[in-house]
Symmetry: D2
Subunit: 389 residues, 4 copies
Amino acid sequence: MTVRVGVLGYRFMGKAHANAMARLPMFFPDAPDVERHVLVGRDEDALADAADRLGFENTATDWRDVVEEVDAFYNLGPNHVHVEPSVAALKAGTPVLCEKPLANDLDGAERMADAAEDAGVPTATAFNYRFVPAIRYAKNLIEDGALGEIRHFRGRYLQDWLADPEAPWSWRNSAEMAGSGALGDLGAHTIDLARFLVGDVERVSGHLRTFVDERPVEGDEDGAERGEIETRPVTVDDAYSAQAELEGGTMATFEASRFSTGHKNDHTIEIQGSEGSLKFSLERLNELEVLRKGNRGYETILVTEADDPYVEHWWPPGHVLGWEHTFVHENYEFLSAVDGAASETGRGGGETADGSGDYHPNFEDGLAVQRVLSAIQESDERGEWVEVA
Amino acid sequence: MTVRVGVLGYRFMGKAHANAMARLPMFFPDAPDVERHVLVGRDEDALADAADRLGFENTATDWRDVVEEVDAFYNLGPNHVHVEPSVAALKAGTPVLCEKPLANDLDGAERMADAAEDAGVPTATAFNYRFVPAIRYAKNLIEDGALGEIRHFRGRYLQDWLADPEAPWSWRNSAEMAGSGALGDLGAHTIDLARFLVGDVERVSGHLRTFVDERPVEGDEDGAERGEIETRPVTVDDAYSAQAELEGGTMATFEASRFSTGHKNDHTIEIQGSEGSLKFSLERLNELEVLRKGNRGYETILVTEADDPYVEHWWPPGHVLGWEHTFVHENYEFLSAVDGAASETGRGGGETADGSGDYHPNFEDGLAVQRVLSAIQESDERGEWVEVA
Amino acid sequence: MTVRVGVLGYRFMGKAHANAMARLPMFFPDAPDVERHVLVGRDEDALADAADRLGFENTATDWRDVVEEVDAFYNLGPNHVHVEPSVAALKAGTPVLCEKPLANDLDGAERMADAAEDAGVPTATAFNYRFVPAIRYAKNLIEDGALGEIRHFRGRYLQDWLADPEAPWSWRNSAEMAGSGALGDLGAHTIDLARFLVGDVERVSGHLRTFVDERPVEGDEDGAERGEIETRPVTVDDAYSAQAELEGGTMATFEASRFSTGHKNDHTIEIQGSEGSLKFSLERLNELEVLRKGNRGYETILVTEADDPYVEHWWPPGHVLGWEHTFVHENYEFLSAVDGAASETGRGGGETADGSGDYHPNFEDGLAVQRVLSAIQESDERGEWVEVA
Amino acid sequence: MTVRVGVLGYRFMGKAHANAMARLPMFFPDAPDVERHVLVGRDEDALADAADRLGFENTATDWRDVVEEVDAFYNLGPNHVHVEPSVAALKAGTPVLCEKPLANDLDGAERMADAAEDAGVPTATAFNYRFVPAIRYAKNLIEDGALGEIRHFRGRYLQDWLADPEAPWSWRNSAEMAGSGALGDLGAHTIDLARFLVGDVERVSGHLRTFVDERPVEGDEDGAERGEIETRPVTVDDAYSAQAELEGGTMATFEASRFSTGHKNDHTIEIQGSEGSLKFSLERLNELEVLRKGNRGYETILVTEADDPYVEHWWPPGHVLGWEHTFVHENYEFLSAVDGAASETGRGGGETADGSGDYHPNFEDGLAVQRVLSAIQESDERGEWVEVA
């Protein structure tokens, strides 16, 4: 079967996923055939241009026309439009991949996860960093017990694009449109990796901060001329930190900021266990630092050998991959699950009893992360520890 | 004047300070003359041996005989013996240097700080990492505004000597003798650097954990033979984390552990401001990573130039210093303050009105740190944020 | 015009260039339209399979049938088949991209460069590392004088795939098929970067070594059974080093090895000038370490900002690129030159008077590198310094 | 016995060795008692001041008065005064430690080594980097075969104190006084480590360069006023590189420069063997990067464990040492050998038959290095490879 994909959103994430789909035939020949069937957006001119560049057959300005007709629906829009189209697609029995965080709030995420369960089709929350070869390698090490009992998990995600108080307002600064700030945008990735590599988050103590309360509206040139630049309020966090306890007794700390001057996309993970430790940094994503039992120091492993996860599809040892490759792996896995589910049951089947396939991270994983995000926000408001639901 | 120093404690810290005093004449010719006058301990044989090796003229088994007769008293014993001898020395008008943390609990620290204030002589809490040239360099950068408004402070101090559950029990595992575990032993350093570099800690949320509840008593060979090894309870934290707000609005996270497999003495500080950022690691203490305004990335500065703090006393550029040099700088500053205070007023005078000199970190600084330690413990118990007194 | 490309070779390099061409429309919309027209090889089954996977319209088993009919000919075969097809293509007026080193020996390279000059069409020697954004950034720094007068150039390219004496024989071990070993395969890249970044190589002293004289033939299972594994002689260098003087007085050292245990694709460049210095490592190709005037240490620049070379075509800051992206940039530049040349003159025109366009590194650059390779070999044989022709 | 030491030279090296001797009693209690007996120099005022600061009992302005009366003679003067006093001391049966390189030229070094052999007392060439714990650890690894057959040795020693053409002239710029420049001053260390860790140097190809031909005389203020600053010619190399073959077939490259902008005391060693590899950097001298068999990447070993070479004398794990500690270890070993030799035979005895003890690196080692220095210079002059005598 050819999987016809409909994609809502044609900017950063649209490009990342379109590229990923385009690269499957050459590098993952056992992936299903994929047709970039329809690109959905509101601005018709920009949309036509993007569809042409990104290789889509058709365009549409209303996702309602799309969610039923495609074999998979990608929801890559801002957070506040995650719920309605995703639920609609699932009600139509269409598998859905949705960007992270799953929703603006816990209620939205629950509706999406419920719809996924009802539909019994594959879903994906787009935590692409699970698909970094070095992260998969780390996962294997941990599952093999190479690190022993996990004592500490530390995850930090640092950026600096808001460090300048004059950086313009965007939807990412709005609670209504984004749900939260650094917490949902960056922290969601960290929390997903904590769950993936170690286990569920059981209780949290959170700390949110907004350093700059309002920001100029971009392009308000009239206002600039009059010296009355329009501003809009920042209603989300610029940075968050959290302390947590994970399943099995691991002590965890999380942190993210958009005010970390000099850090561009600096997502680091550190894990320390009774038998060994590891460190990962997204800006050096081909490397994993591992302290193995019997060694004394961290070993810098270049995760580019043929038998490392996903690597045989690409290049010889030492020929490094980039950030975008995580999307190729993610699309490969998700679209294979969609194809497998469809094959088994006609439409809507899958490898597992309920037809949802075994793809992870799915909407249930997205909901689990949302529960932690929500608990961190609640903890910050109440000034005390909060159990994760 | 020759400063005659009496030292309580002849193990790790005794050696570090004795070495520091011994090195002053060759490298800091303007330091006062110092006599390692008397070494205090209980085990007479071990004491005599240590005094010989460490260059002390005399020994004593009771600190009560010592605190009055010396020009400076160094209290390097376990935490639970910090209060009484230090207060007695101060009552006798003798300047005191005390190892960190200042006391087992807030009450003890307050008594010590009160005694210091009454005495009006120089005191020191031995936060030696203030005397790393790279940390002084960082301090100067921050004071010059090179980092702008400080947004983030992160401090972590990781060791692994308790990661093995069979590692033997010591006084450092006892609440009665040590007050706290990783928090007081390691966290005190981090919190002092936060205060030194950024500002006071205003409120905290803490998290303490004990991973291993009891440990074998070392050398219980009879028990080992019978298969009944004696154990003692671990009544302090093996690891802590904390979130905090600092004076001026800085968001801070602190963390320390004795279970961080592969980390030996890994104290790292990261600071991010509106104009620049910096990173420091104790295991590479000659280096400071600085992001300056106008640069794009962190610059690895080797803080070994002649005009870097303290460096002209030592070696040419690139000839790196070690951990112990921090004690030499600390002793130089403290003993100079002691000498200065004595010169002005006979005994007990100083550069400032009250004769305490301007030496920092003094007992007031030690008390300020103790307040944070105490608040972190209280926050952990209550499960909520706590204002620092 | 649509540029129809014929490609000889469908393994490692075939995949790298096919991928590069496939990605142009989405990321470099101003690139010419490119058709992967025909894939050339000898094994028809493998060829058909590769053509399907790599997106070629047609296949051919004889390059003679191809070189005239295409708009650009890519010669990605082993070194010993570089000359004849390339010269034939050029005689037919077809632009040629040829993998490095240009030829087995100086004579072959001269014939190719002569043919290129006669043809007056764009040619490329595939030194793809000129197209790493960080290398371009370095080039700009040097041209702007930021490093002052260049005193030192150091280039090393370390791999370890032959460290095991039982690693099987391949064409890369044969002087007849490869010309040289580490020198031509790896050193050619280093020497090209020396020329690109600093200037021509004027004289050299070379040192070649073969550590293992013969290697087993892969797949000789009969022999293995009889305990008589067939071996073939290694007639090229396993490693080389060289000292050199570059144009303008720069002192240079080059080195490469296939016996550097633990190093996979470790190409490092270091340049030190009177005003500043820089360091680059291929395994961390998104980074450049720069010592600028006015700074004290190396600054780790993540070359992923929108205004860094080629970066705006890809992803936001901190979203790192991989090894393969260098081929996309190289194909973009070369195919644009091919298109430009064709547009101006019908077939065979270009931006420059002679229609060759201004694309670099071209065959002349490939020849210049070959002269250095040849001089290093000659120097090693004669045991003395050799002037580069 | 108390070893009475006479020291010629009271600047940088005088301070380094005096400090080393002063620290022995506290840290190496089994070292012999050492008396800093007499300090030798020409400027009486400066000498008296230095003797006071460095802890010497006496001063002398003529080394002839000293070499007989002391139990060990330290020759820390400029290279051109190494031969005569050292030979005189040896003729008097006095053990000698001499700074590196052993002499200005091969002839001088041979005279010194001959005198050492005749005297049969311990001698030392002060290659202090053999006494870095990490280098000893590396030595042990190599001797245990952990790296297999050594294929590559690379050593580079980079400084930048002459990068500025206006940096003043000193004796180190004079062939008459220093013998050579970067080659003898820095390269001697590298070559000694090659011999220590791998084996003798058998043949070399050298390259020397002087970038700046003359330099201003420091303190010529009259000249500066008249605009006629006096200059002196630079008659030594500013930088050198060399290729070499070591005993056993190792391929080696050496390099040093005083023009490496941004590098202060950057001595790096890399060794690659058939089973493993290692890397060392003097500016991070507590660390050793080791690729062990069975691992995939370099492991960063902090060489600060109690059972690492020399470490148990100092501090707990992770409490790093500095550059100066190498001198303490060197003095400990040399003075113990002096003491041992004297004990056995009255004066002039030793552990070995000829009474020279087994101390290394001795004058024979210094001569072996000098042979390589000399061969590199000769090779540069002749433009061809030179066998080391």
